[in-house]
């Protein structure tokens, strides 16, 4: 049912698109005439009394909005296509999205041709300036740095040496083939062939992303193929310009080759430097955006785009600039911007890259129908075969050399996937499209050949890679969440290995990485990260991120009777803190009236109080009263609280240790990604607070225990000796360690309230362990 409606809408859309194309393009004179009319009208109005027409109630003026309208229509079509594929689950599981989109493009192009219109081809300018950057930025921003740098050597080998090998192999052999009888008429000279070879040899990031995203192979292979597709841009740029320049001349000397190598270094390193500079600028700018959160994402996008454009100005590798910018920006910007901005950036990038991706494939299809073709069986078939052979040979040969230096060797299966995953895509197409037909009379043939190769790789390889991955039982991506133990030990190992290297006297991998990290921490972070976040170590950041995730999960799930958590609440703090048991203080049982009173007070005050709940995988709720949904959260929380009351276990305490406001570091660290909230916190001293401290204030032990868990840093696992519920706005909890609770209390104007609440009769001694108090 859904599907039928969808298809009808789609049909209407495509129809309207073509009609508009027809209507608008058929007379470009039409625009001219209407222009004239306008002029005439103006003139006429001034000079003579022309015939008075009745006032036009409704008029058609398509030309002014033509361009944006058509663009929007195309984007809409692309998005609807994407939507459609996911409504048909069966098809989308067999055929990768990119194939379907190309087919759609073919259909649309075919329809257009039928109608008599010339379908628009994928203009290189539009492709390189508007369609490609979002995809690359998305890839660069979310590039997994650790696996990337660990395998950098391998990736570079594949990208540089592999591409060079491919280019020369294909180009050279094609030239040889063209020299054979029967093909002499093509007048394909060596340099043109080499140019063609270099264009076609580059693995395309767009296609790789599109296909690999769906097959979920393990991280190593993914990063190898993907990294290669990104880094080979520099090689492609250099080779392309080199051959293009000199193909008119006809010869290349050794000097040119040497210059080419220098150019390669300049292009790649220059691109990276440009990207890094813009990245640092972006990070620096984001340091000051605490008052203008709304435009934070814009800075990231703008700086990155400018990096790309700046690199393109100098013919440096724009892709590498973009990757460098994204990778450099991310760690610093993420520490500075708010959670919402982070989400915005993530979603915008994903959205743009998705739309770009879809548009590119559709236009590939349309361009296939549109573009001038010149089919030559031999040339095309040889191209396809040679590029395949070159890829396989290249990968196998390189792996043989690389494996000598790798600890984790690449197996045959890995090699196969790497070779098979070398898809060609729109970049190659656009590069050929850019060729000047006058200099390259066989451009059309190249175009045809490239399209064939692209189709072959995307359709055949793209479709079969998934069953092959399953057949060969290639390791898939681990879906397991990264646990905190693993994180701790990864850090520990890093330091350990650095230490051992120092002891050995070996300046290896870890040594330099450690030096870089220390430099980063000491100087760079101070510059680029605002405030106290600059000193937050990675482990803590990771921990807070996990907590936030827990909190969000919890709130989203609404807190049912079974409190969701990443780990089942089967083990609690008391299970691992046995030595606290002698000191346990169960909470005294309050009478019903008291509870009601307390609850009422809480209800009224919760509206204004900033709560900082902290616990790991229990009830975590980091809230910002200035955020939307505050009330929802409150209601949910109250529901949770009430439900918990019914659970008669000592384990489920809700503890809300107070955040010490005096130490912004700590406060900041709590809210890993919402520094703005921290800023506000300082001003809520005047907010009425409720401190319900049911642990007997007289016993210092209980206070200590409270400190143990009640402090911001601690994990705040529920436990008996916790001492109860404390909801405090920022006040000096930090000092509680040193002072007694009484002193602490004195500082609070609301302590009167506390006293009356916390002196309910039963003292700490007569606890009834089975009744938790949970307001």
């Amino acid at each position: 049912m859904e599907l039928k409606m969808f298809i009808i809408v789609l049909g209407l859309l495509v129809g309207s698109l073509m009609l508009l194309e027809g209507a608008a393009s058929s007379p470009d004179m039409g625009t001219g005439i209407s222009q004239n009319n306008h002029d005439h009208k103006d003139v006429g109005h001034n000079n003579t009394h022309s015939k008075k027409k009745p006032f036009p109630v409704l008029s058609l003026d398509y030309d002014t909005v033509r361009l944006p309208f058509e663009i929007s229509l195309w984007v809409l079509l692309a998005s609807l296509m994407k939507l459609g594929f996911h409504l048909i689950p069966r098809v989308s599981s067999i055929v990768p999205e990119s194939c379907l989109l190309i087919v759609v493009g073919l259909l649309v192009g075919g329809l257009m041709k039928l109608v008599g219109e010339s379908p628009p081809a994928l203009e290189s300018k539009i492709f390189f300036l508007y369609l490609l950057p979002p995809i690359i930025l998305d890839a660069g921003y979310f590039l997994p740095i650790r696996p990337f740098t660990e395998n950098l050597g391998t990736i570079l080998m594949f990208a540089v040496v592999g591409t060079l090998w491919n280019a020369f192999f294909v180009g050279g052999l094609l030239y040889g083939v063209c020299q054979l009888e029967g093909l002499q008429h093509l007048h394909v000279d060596l340099l043109s062939c080499l140019l063609f070879g270099s264009i076609i040899s580059a693995v395309d990031p767009v296609a790789v992303l599109a296909v690999f995203e769906e097959i979920h192979i393990n991280e190593l292979l993914h990063i190898l193929v993907f990294g290669e597709s990104l880094l080979n841009d520099a090689v492609t740029v250099v080779l392309y310009h080199l051959f293009e320049e000199y193909s008119s001349v006809g010869t290349i000397t050794v000097t040119d080759v040497f210059l080419g190598i220098v150019c390669f270094l300049v292009v790649s390193l220059g691109g990276i430097v440009v990207g890094a500079i813009y990245g640092i600028l972006a990070a620096f700018t984001s340091r000051f955006t605490s008052h203008t959160r709304v435009i934070e994402p814009l800075f990231v996008f703008l700086y990155s785009y400018m990096a790309y454009l700046s690199a393109e100005v100098f013919h440096l590798s724009g892709i590498m600039a973009l990757i460098a910018c994204g990778a450099v920006t991310r760690p610093y910007v993420e520490a500075n911007i708010s959670h919402k901005s982070h989400t915005t950036i993530k979603y915008f990038l994903k959205m743009w890259s998705s739309v770009s991706d879809t548009l590119i494939f559709i236009f590939l299809g349309v361009s296939t129908v549109a573009g001038p073709h010149r089919w030559n069986w031999t040339f095309v078939i040889m191209t396809v075969i040679l590029s395949l052979v070159a890829r396989v040979l290249g990968v196998v040969g390189l792996t043989f050399i690389i494996n000598k230096f790798r600890i984790v060797k690449l197996t045959t299966k890995d090699q196969f996937i790497i070779a098979y995953g070398g898809l060609r895509g729109a970049i190659a197409f656009s590069l050929v499209y850019l060729l000047n037909p006058h200099h390259f009379p066989m451009r059309n043939m190249f175009l045809t050949a490239i399209i064939t190769v692209i189709f072959f790789t995307v359709f055949v390889q793209g479709m079969t890679i998934r069953p092959l991955v399953d057949l060969l039982a290639v390791k898939k991506k681990q879906e397991t969440k990264r646990s905190i133990n693993e994180e701790i030990h990864t850090q520990f190992l890093d330091h350990l290995l650095t230490g051992i290297e120092d002891i050995c006297g070996h300046y290896g991998h870890h040594h330099w990485k450690d030096k870089l990290n220390r430099f980063n921490k000491k100087y760079v972070k101070k510059c680029l990260i605002a405030g106290e976040r600059s000193r937050e170590p990675q482990l803590i950041a990771f921990y807070h991120k996990m907590e936030m995730k827990q909190a969000i999960e919890l709130v989203e799930s609404g807190g049912g009777s079974k409190l969701p958590s990443a780990m089942p609440s089967t083990v609690s703090m008391q299970n691992i803190h046995p030595k606290k048991t002698p000191h346990e203080r169960a909470l005294p049982q309050l009478s019903k009236a008291r509870e009601e009173e307390i609850r009422k007070i809480l209800r009224t005050n919760l509206q204004k109080t900033r709560q900082r709940l902290r616990s790991y995988n229990r009830h975590t709720l980091v809230v910002d009263p200035y955020e939307d949904g505050w009330n929802d959260i409150l209601i949910k929380r109250k529901k949770m609280i009430e439900l918990e009351k019914k659970i008669s276990q000592m384990n489920n305490y809700l503890t809300v240790p107070a955040p010490p406001p005096d130490s912004p570091t700590i406060a900041r660290a709590r809210l890993s990604s919402d520094p703005q909230a921290w800023g506000i916190k300082a001003s809520t001293e005047s907010v009425p607070t409720i401190k319900v401290d049911l642990a007997s204030p007289q016993s210092p032990e209980s206070v200590n225990m409270v400190d143990e868990f009640g402090k911001k840093g601690s994990q705040a696992k529920e436990s008996k000796e916790e001492g109860g519920l404390m909801m405090k706005a920022p006040s000096a909890a930090k000092e509680r360690k040193d002072k007694t609770a009484d002193e602490d209390d004195d500082r609070e104007p609301q302590q009167r309230l506390m006293r009356c609440l916390s002196d309910p009769g039963p003292t700490a001694d007569e606890e009834d362990e089975d009744e938790p108090f949970l307001p």
């Binding site: 397991t480 350990l496 002891i503 050995c504 083990v571 570091t665």
Partner: protein, 216 residues
């Protein structure tokens, strides 16, 4: 490696090589380093490690140094720690950081994995009771964060507690309120670190070591 003395005890080197798996060349290099650190004496003491500048900025420096003097790392059932070590012990500890060779059977790989994880475990389990208790784990995390000032110390406890809970949840499952989880045993340690490919990540490339660059 200018003045490379000829192996004084070829035979000794060979036995060491068989025992630890290093090549003769690597043993030579490491011996040079040992002599450099120990100022040409026969044994190495804890103080000798202080001469290494780069090590000073390492947050877990003391644990690393301790690992060299821990008898448990020398042989299977060693207990306690020693004050000074000879070259053989030095080499034995270093051998924990060798990479697995290409042609290695599954068993050997597992064996190597266990050995390396045992080394890590020993580093954490300072009182040698076979389990990593909460305090010991807390100490580990605190050390890791020791360069971060006040923030580190307080969060460290939280992190250690969280980690401990995670282990308890994974290994033991549901526990009654009055049960007590002693600590992480070696088997549980193996389990939680299953995701980290220890045998390949815990290694140093002993290929080229330029000991002359170290005269700081």
């Amino acid at each position: 490696m200018g003045s490379f003395q000829s192996f004084p005890d070829d035979h000794q080197y060979r036995t060491l090589s068989e025992k630890t798996g290093f090549s003769l060349k690597q043993i030579g290099i490491l011996h040079n380093r040992f002599k450099q650190l120990s100022q040409n004496e026969e044994t190495l003491r804890r103080d000798d490690f202080k001469t290494i500048q780069d090590l000073e900025s390492n947050p877990i420096r003391s644990q690393i140094i301790e690992a060299f003097f821990d008898r448990r790392n020398f042989k299977k059932d060693g207990v306690g720690s020693v004050e000074e070590i000879g070259f053989e012990e030095f080499l034995t500890v270093m051998s924990y950081f060798r990479a697995p060779t290409h042609h290695i059977t599954e068993e050997q790989r597992e064996e190597m994995r266990r050995a390396k994880l045992r080394f890590l475990f020993n580093m954490h389990d300072t009182d040698n009771d076979g389990t990593i208790t909460l305090d010991e784990y807390r100490h580990v995390v605190e050390e890791l964060l020791s360069r971060s000032g006040a923030v580190g110390r307080e969060t460290a406890k939280g992190i250690a507690d969280a980690a401990m809970l995670e282990v308890a949840n994974i290994s033991v499952g549901p526990m009654a309120p009055d049960e007590f989880y002693e600590g992480i045993t070696f088997e549980q340690f193996l389990k939680i670190l299953k995701g980290v490919e220890i045998e390949t990540s815990m290694h140093i490339r002993f290929l080229n070591m330029d000991t002359t660059a170290l005269c700081k």
